[in-house]
């Protein structure tokens, strides 16, 4: 059984700035997230991936603060404690072709310092949750793109994380797998803070309890998918209310 989960804020980001040379990727972003499934929408280059990398503790901000599970990431020990409670699936994740699914997931279970006696169960449970148990002993190079993505998801959830970060997780999944993935998101979101960066508006509508829209390195909208749909101006194009809402908010942000 897992230890008592944290009470308090899962993700708290204040005035975050990230610059790469002259380019500003994040420009004073604020974000507070608790349990639930949160969507992170925005056009390409809006800063979604940079934000995900910061929340995954992979990179450090130029200025501003990131606090995860009420821990200060600048402190080495607190950082380690947070990392044990973190799951991360980057947009492009590397894998080792000669590893089996089980070995791949096991590798990350050890890296995340899952207690030794729980590793085998945790690994199989994660593989089962993504529906890959029948392929658990197949080498990764034999899997299709969608299956690889699911192996990546299994790796992210193997430690039952309190904070789970998915960057474009549905890329390569077929429609049926997408539906299953959203169900998995909802199940995990009961206990944990799940952040899904995507450019697929329908993922957000189906699975997310709320949406944050980023543009130009800032948060320009925060609300439920319904609220985003309600923001729609009928004159803009789009196939669904939420798409129209997305375009409306984005255009307003660009003009403002």
């Amino acid at each position: 059984m897992s230890t008592p989960t944290v009470i308090g804020t899962h993700v708290e980001v204040r005035d975050l700035v990230v610059r790469f040379g002259k380019r500003t990727a994040l420009d004073g972003l604020d974000l507070t997230l608790d349990t639930g499934v949160h969507g992170l929408l925005g056009p390409n280059g809006a800063g979604k991936t940079t934000l995900m990398r910061l929340l995954a503790t992979v990179a450090k901000p130029t200025s501003g603060t990131v606090s995860l599970l009420d821990h200060d990431l600048r402190d080495h020990r607190q950082l380690r404690r947070v990392r044990r409670r973190l799951g991360y699936l980057p947009q492009h994740f590397g894998y080792y072709p000669r590893f089996t699914v089980r070995e791949f997931v096991e590798y990350f279970a050890w890296l995340k310092e899952v207690p030794a006696d729980r590793v085998p169960t945790a690994v199989d449970r994660a593989i089962e949750r993504v529906g890959l148990l029948d392929r658990a002993d197949d080498k990764l190079k034999k899997l299709s793109g969608g299956m690889l993505r699911r192996a990546g998801i299994a790796q992210a959830i193997v430690n039952d994380p309190d904070i789970l970060l998915f960057d474009e997780p549905t890329a390569g999944l077929d429609p049926e797998q997408r539906v299953e993935f959203r169900e998995l998101l909802r199940a995990i979101g009961v206990d944990a803070c799940v952040l899904v960066a995507t450019h697929l508006v329908e993922d957000v509508t189906a699975a997310c309890t709320d949406v944050t829209l980023v543009n130009g390195g800032r948060s320009v909208f925060r609300g439920t998918p319904e609220e985003l749909a309600a923001a729609a101006d009928d004159s803009v194009g789009g196939d669904s209310p939420i798409e129209r809402g997305y375009t409306t908010v984005l255009r307003a942000a660009r003009q403002g």
């Binding site: 008592p4 790469f20 040379g21 995954a56 994740f93 080792y96 050890w110 030794a116 590793v119 658990a136």
Partner: protein, 277 residues
Amino acid sequence: MTWHVPADTVRAYVHGRIADADAWSVEAHLSSCEQCRAELAAEASHVPALMADVDSRWSAVAADLPAQGRVRRGTVWRELVVLVTAGPAARWAWLTASLAVLALAAGVGAITPMTGGGELPLLGMVAPLVPILGVAASYGSGLDDAHEVIASTPGGGLRLLLMRSVTVLAASSVIAVAAGLFSGYGSPVPWLLASLALVMLTLAFGSLLGVGRAAAAVGGGWAVAVTVATLDAPADAIPSLLTVEFAPVWLVLAVVAALVVTVRRDAFDHIILTTRH
């Protein structure tokens, strides 16, 4: 969710002093409310008997699961094997490469003795380089496809790097000593110290540049130094860098580099951004 289980009720539930109907409604609420689950867990953690019960039941469930496929038991040894052998040069590829390089160097050195009273000590020149390349191949973040995920894990920083460095150093030392004895090439102690110092220097520079670049820099530096030393004393079979007299210098270098790594250990907590935009 606006309503939560009152603290009294949580306490009553934990201590089993609650009516069945109330317990059911608490359980129904718990299945959908993390906050109350957390409070319940916090309350229950004060009751050792309950925690012991939960632990033993969990162990029973875990022990009873049917074996599926090739499940390995979770042991410290298994952890070590997984963490050391996983990587871009996974499954001992670097070890094979090291063997090949050393065999080649020993072979060339033995077959083509240099004129002028000495021979080019190719093996001695190459051997200390092998561990650095091994470290770079088994850890260098730019070479590892999964480095992005690994960098987000608690075990992925200096700990993993040191684990792999020690393994690489141990394995290549064994090979180097064997090759040295086989080719009848002097005492192995200076090389081993040189190898150790070069690996530690790679780690020390790695805290600034990233391990891949540091390995290239240190390897290049070694090549230049050993070439100069050989040109300096062409008649000498052993370059001065690898003589017993020079060994204390390597030892000091290794210690200094180790201190640098200790002081700068937090630098391995994050990916060192040098090339990413």
